[in-house]
C-alpha cells in the first residue's frame, strides 16, 4: 500500500510542501542569514558577523522588554489559569444557564487583538481619567491593562479546555472518594487536580507562549508608551526593525534571540508533557 501511495506524492504533498517552503522555510533561512548582515532593503545586504547580536544585547530597551515580557507571561499565566479553572469548576456544577455562561465567557476569544486593544483603551483610559491620569503615563497601568485584556480574552478559552478535562474524569472515582469520606476540598486537591494535570500542562504552556508572543494587543493598547517602557518583546522587535534606520539587522538578530527563547519554552513543554505521560 505504501508503494501505491508513494506514486501520488506530487498530488498529496507538493502543494503543502511548496507553500511551506515559500511561507516558512525560505523566510526562516533568509532571516537567520540577515541577522548577520547590515541592510536596508536586502538587495544591499552586507555581512557583518555578530555585531548585530552584540548591539541587541547592549540595547537597554530590549533587555527591559525581556524582563517585562517574562513578568507579563508569568502574571497572566497565573491569573488566567486560576480564574479559568474556578469558572470551569463552577460551570460543571448543576446550575441553571451553564451553557449560556460558557457562551458568554468564551466569546471575547474570537475578537481580534487590534480590536480588543482599542475597546479596552477606551475603557481603561475612561476609568483612569477619573483619577486624572492615563494609560500612556505609567508602564504599570499598561501592564495591568494588558493583563486585564488578555484575561478577558483568554479565560474563556482555557475554561473550555478545563471543562473538557473535568468532564473526562470518570464519575466513579469522585464517588469512591466521597464514600471514603473525603470532603470537597480534599476531593479537589487529592482527586480532581491530579486527574487534571494533562489539561493544566496544556493550558499553562498555551498561556505562557501566548504571553511571550503577544503583539497586536500591545500595539493597540499602549503602543509601548511611556518611552517604550510597556513594550513587550515582539513589539520591541517590530519597532527596532521598521522604526529605526540602520537597525534592521539588529531587529532581525533580536528576532532570532526571541525565536530561541520561544523554542526553549516549547522544548521544556515537550519534556514536561512526556514526563507526565510516563508517570501515568
Amino acid at each position: 500500500m505504501e508503494k501505491a501511495i508513494k506514486k501520488y506524492m506530487p498530488i498529496f504533498v507538493f502543494p503543502t510542501l511548496a507553500a511551506f517552503i515559500i511561507g516558512f522555510i525560505l523566510p526562516f533561512i533568509l532571516g537567520i542569514w540577515l541577522s548577520f548582515c547590515e541592510f536596508t532593503t536586502v538587495t544591499d545586504a552586507k555581512f557583518v558577523g555578530f555585531s548585530n547580536y552584540i548591539k541587541a544585547f547592549q540595547d537597554p530597551d530590549f533587555l527591559h522588554s525581556f524582563w517585562f515580557t517574562a513578568l507579563f507571561a508569568i502574571v497572566s499565566l497565573v491569573v488566567i489559569n486560576v480564574f479559568a479553572f474556578l469558572l470551569a469548576l463552577a460551570l460543571t456544577q448543576k446550575m441553571r444557564g451553564t451553557n449560556i455562561f460558557r457562551t458568554i465567557f468564551f466569546m471575547p476569544n474570537l475578537i481580534g487583538g487590534i480590536v480588543l486593544g482599542y475597546i479596552w483603551q477606551l475603557i481603561i483610559n475612561g476609568v483612569l481619567a477619573k483619577y486624572n491620569t492615563a494609560l500612556a503615563l505609567n508602564e504599570w497601568y499598561g501592564f495591568w491593562g494588558l493583563i486585564i485584556l488578555v484575561s478577558w480574552q483568554q479565560i474563556g478559552y482555557m475554561m473550555i479546555i478545563y471543562i473538557a478535562g473535568l468532564q473526562a474524569i470518570p464519575g466513579d472515582i469522585i464517588e469512591a472518594a466521597q464514600i471514603d469520606g473525603a470532603n470537597p476540598i480534599q476531593r479537589l486537591f487529592k482527586v480532581t487536580l491530579p486527574m487534571m494535570m494533562p489539561s493544566i500542562t496544556i493550558c499553562v504552556f498555551l498561556s505562557i507562549t501566548n504571553g511571550f508572543k503577544l503583539f497586536d494587543q500591545n500595539l493597540s493598547l499602549t503602543a509601548g508608551e511611556p518611552s517604550k517602557l510597556s513594550e513587550l518583546m515582539a513589539l520591541n522587535i517590530y519597532n527596532t526593525f521598521y522604526g529605526r534606520v540602520g537597525w534592521e539587522g539588529v531587529g532581525q538578530a533580536k528576532a532570532v534571540i526571541f525565536f530561541i527563547i520561544v523554542v526553549g519554552i516549547g522544548m521544556w513543554q515537550l519534556k514536561a508533557t512526556r514526563a507526565k505521560e510516563v508517570q501515568q
Partner: protein, 278 residues
C-alpha cells in the same frame, strides 16, 4: 435537597451578574458609537444625551471614508479561501506522511512541529519580501502564504488523527482497486470530519483576526483587512476619528458574534479537541 436548589439559584444569579460585567466592554463601545466623536474621550461611560447623540453618522463615516465594507469583504475572502485550502492540502499531506514511512516524511513532520512555535517576528520581513517577489501580495496570493505559515499546526493535528485510524479499512479499499486519491476522498476524508472542523475553527480564528501578516504582505494600497483598517483609523491621516473607530469596532465584532452563535457547539468542541492534541 432544598438547600442545593437555593445554592444553584444563587450561582445562577452570581453568574448572571458576572456575565453582564463580562460583556460590558462591548456594550460601552456600542453606546459610544452613537456619540459625537468629540464627546467619546471626555465621557466614555455616559449614555448619549440630546447633545452628544449622532445616530448612525459614525457608522456612515466608517463605511464611506475608511472603506470598511471592502475590508470586511476581503477579510471574509481571505479567511474562507485560506481555511479551505489549508484543510484540503494539509490533510492530504498529513495522510501521506503518516502512511508512507521515510526520512522525508519524518523530516516534514519535525519541521511542521518546529514551525508551530516560531514567532512571526522571526520571519516578518523575509516573508513579506518573498511574498512580494513572488507576487503573492494579493488576497489570492496570501492564501498560499497562510497555507505555508499555517501548515505546521494543521499537519500536526491531522497526523495525530490519522494515526488513530485503523489501517485495515484503507487496505481493504485499495485491494478493491481504489486509487490512493479515491481512498482518501471516499474513506479517509469522511472519517476525519471532526478533525476538519477543529482545524478549520482554529485556523479561522487565527486568520480572521491576524494583523501583522496581512499588513506586511498585502498590497495595502488596494486591499485592507478589518484589523488593518481599524489600526489605520487610529494612526493615519494625522487625526483620530474616535466616532468612526467605535463604529468600526462594533462592526468588526458583529460578524464574529454571529459566527460564534451559529456554530458555537463546533467551536467549543474544536477548541477542546485542538488543545488535547496540541
Amino acid at each position: 435537597m432544598k438547600m442545593k436548589r437555593t445554592l444553584s439559584w444563587v450561582g445562577t444569579i452570581v453568574f448572571t451578574i458576572l456575565g453582564l460585567i463580562y460583556i460590558a466592554p462591548i456594550i460601552i463601545v456600542l453606546i459610544n458609537s452613537f456619540k459625537n466623536k468629540v464627546y467619546i474621550n471626555l465621557e466614555p461611560f455616559k449614555l448619549p444625551s440630546a447633545e452628544t447623540w449622532t445616530g448612525l453618522s459614525n457608522y456612515a463615516s466608517a463605511i464611506n471614508q475608511y472603506g470598511f465594507l471592502d475590508a470586511v469583504g476581503w477579510t471574509v475572502f481571505i479567511t474562507v479561501g485560506s481555511v479551505l485550502v489549508i484543510l484540503l492540502c494539509t490533510s492530504m499531506c498529513a495522510w501521506y506522511i503518516t502512511r508512507v514511512k521515510s526520512t522525508f516524511s519524518s523530516a516534514m513532520y519535525a519541521l511542521c512541529a518546529v514551525s508551530m512555535v516560531v514567532p512571526f517576528q522571526m520571519v516578518m520581513f523575509t516573508l513579506s519580501l518573498v511574498a512580494d517577489r513572488l507576487r503573492l501580495n494579493t488576497p489570492w496570493g496570501i492564501i498560499i502564504i497562510y497555507l505555508g505559515f499555517g501548515a505546521g499546526l494543521a499537519v500536526f493535528m491531522f497526523c495525530g488523527f490519522v494515526k488513530s485510524i485503523p489501517l485495515e479499512i484503507e487496505e481493504a479499499a485499495m485491494i478493491d482497486g481504489c486509487t490512493p486519491l479515491r481512498t482518501f476522498f471516499t474513506i479517509v476524508g469522511p472519517i476525519m470530519k471532526p478533525t476538519y472542523i477543529s482545524v478549520g475553527i482554529l485556523e479561522t480564528m487565527w486568520i480572521w483576526n491576524d494583523f501583522l501578516l496581512p499588513y506586511l504582505v498585502l498590497d495595502i494600497n488596494k486591499y485592507k483587512t478589518i484589523s488593518i483598517v481599524v489600526q489605520y483609523m487610529k494612526g493615519s491621516y494625522g487625526r483620530v476619528d474616535m466616532g468612526a473607530i467605535m463604529a468600526a469596532l462594533i462592526m468588526a465584532v458583529i460578524p464574529v458574534i454571529i459566527f460564534y452563535l451559529s456554530c458555537q457547539k463546533h467551536i467549543i468542541k474544536g477548541v477542546a479537541a485542538g488543545a488535547v492534541k496540541g
